[in-house]
Amino acid sequence: MKFLLAGQPNSGKSTIFNAIAGYRSATANFPGSSVSYTLSRALIHGREVDVVDLPGMYSLTSSSPEAGEAVHFVAEEDWDLIINVLDASRLERSLELTLQLLQLGRPMVVALNMMDEAERHGMKVDVEALSEELGVPVVATIGRRGQGLKALFRVALQTAHCAAPTGTGCFDKEVATAVAKVRVLLEEAGYKSRIPMALTATKVLELDPHFRAKVLEAAPETEAAIDAIIADLQEVHGWSADQVVSGCRHAMAHTIWEKVGELGRPKVGWRERVDRLLLHPVTGGPLMVVILAGVFFLVFGVGQRLEAPLVAWFDALQAMIEGRFPLETLVGSLLSGIFMGVAGGLTIVLPYLLPFLLALAVLEDSGYLPRMAYILDNLMHRIGLHGKSVLPLILGYGCSVPAIMATRILESRRDRRITAALAAFIPCSARTIVIYGLVAAYLGPLWALGIYVLNLVVIMVIGRVLSRFLEGRSPGLILEIPNLAVPSPETLLAKTWLSLKEFLIIAWPVLVVSSLVLSLLEWAGAGGVVNQALAPLTVWTLGLPVAVGMTLIFGILRKELTLVMLVQALGTNQLDEVMTTVQLVVFTLFVVFYVPCVATVAAMARELGWKDTAWISGLTVVVALVLSLAGRLVFTVI
């Protein structure tokens, strides 16, 4: 049996999914946090059920790729029941999607989620009455606290075996007549589809490009007749047909809301007051700078405090091991390789990664990201994009892979291409480790902050250039701003754990193996060959120690490796003793900008195709070279 979780963006689908499937689907407080579906098998009241978490969709129309995926899944795949998750605090609007889902004529249950938010807004909803109006079971839930979920899935199991709803609601007379006419037309033309004819007819009237293309492909002869019906509808109402149909649905949703809902006084709490400050034309911008700088210094402070004792402890351990098994022996060199890999992960990567991921999770779950999109919209226009691109770019500070996938929330292909290219330049958490662990640790946090600022400036310049060259239109910012929320500690931990697991089970083993390989190469004296081959780049051009050659190669595998490998290649934890300030800065600049890791390249190829991936990767190398070279020149002159 297969259940779909479908609903408008940010209604809590992934939260409900995670409650029964374990934390697998990333949740966050902004519309578009899931961009592809997640499937999991769960045991519900003793029955095995496949549950699918779909990306959010405002309507059964595919306006962007991620909503398109949800619509496609609902329309084309096999499933047994839809759990339509509604945000109760935005009930009226949410019902517009529900009305469309009902037209599917398949088993359905409504989860009336976010009941706590609705209450805060002073709204009361009569659950029974709503169930009566819709003709399907409705269960009130608070996904975040797991309330009502047991009942929800019990009802879902019962309903999956019941007869499907008969489809409720009636459009006004003209629309109903037009739908009937198109329906007859399609039936006469022998059009066949898994989707009920009435729904197809409605979507065709709504000028939905996807449904229209499908119908015209199967029955091209109906085009003229359909267009005539559309023109008629337009004539009667004086608006375009799509607005007539959607306005009609809007009116139906409103009628239902009036019957089942009641508005009291909303509570104006501290969240609303803070929100006013965050979005205020005068205080909004400065507060954003303060918040981001706060995150930076907090992560650095915590990371440093965690790192120092760990490093001291492992140094002592390493000295002991090397005393027993000298490096010149094969065993000693193998042991040291494994040790460096394990220790590097623990002492160099984790201290900064952990607080960084937590801080990012707080930003995501509080709902601050869409606010940043609002504040930065203006600036993003300067580089030919709009505010929505801010969301993928900020996610890029965590990891470039989800960032590039998140470009799906953008409506136009041009915006997706430019944003994905820029996201590759954002220092992900792995590159952040280099910035923190090398520059901030040896030269001071202000230097590191400088690198972040320089990075942003470079991204703006590249964005400007790219938007000149890439053709296409950019529709402008249309983004729902969710309510501010206090992130729940469990979700924060679960989320951080999800990203950390990626490091622990993929990156760390790679780190240990690479470290081992590096040791072996050095033991066999082969490392020198690679380093020599890279010398024209590393030594002659960038003025770095010859030993860094290998670390740059390993860095393409996983960027987390770079710093650990550097420590290993140079044979010391005190990098400032073997590298000059210029070298530290030049190395960091190069690492931050040059080719993203293998996983990022793969993600980019999936989203944009190989051609784009090739030029973007090439561009990163050029930019990295130019910047680190410029850095070298500037510093040597000073």
Binding site: G247, G476, I478, E480
Partner: protein, 89 residues
Amino acid sequence: MTLDTVGVLHRSRVIFIEGGQGVRSHLNTLGIHVGDCLEVVERAPFRGPVLVQVNGTRLALGRGVARRVRVEPAETFRPVAGSVITEAG
């Protein structure tokens, strides 16, 4: 007049949405229809986006998008909750 010129805390009613079917249906599905009343909650400086409250949700609309929404002033009567009023067409 168009939505980008409406002052903060003024209520207005949508009378027409310009532009192609794409933008129009996007706005429709997010809760802005012809006939709806909405309120400008905040305007970002330097020709930035506007923040509007409509049908119980808050939307950020870029200036370019806001310029496509033609509105007329609506009576300044405020509902108790300041959120849901609609005169659906």
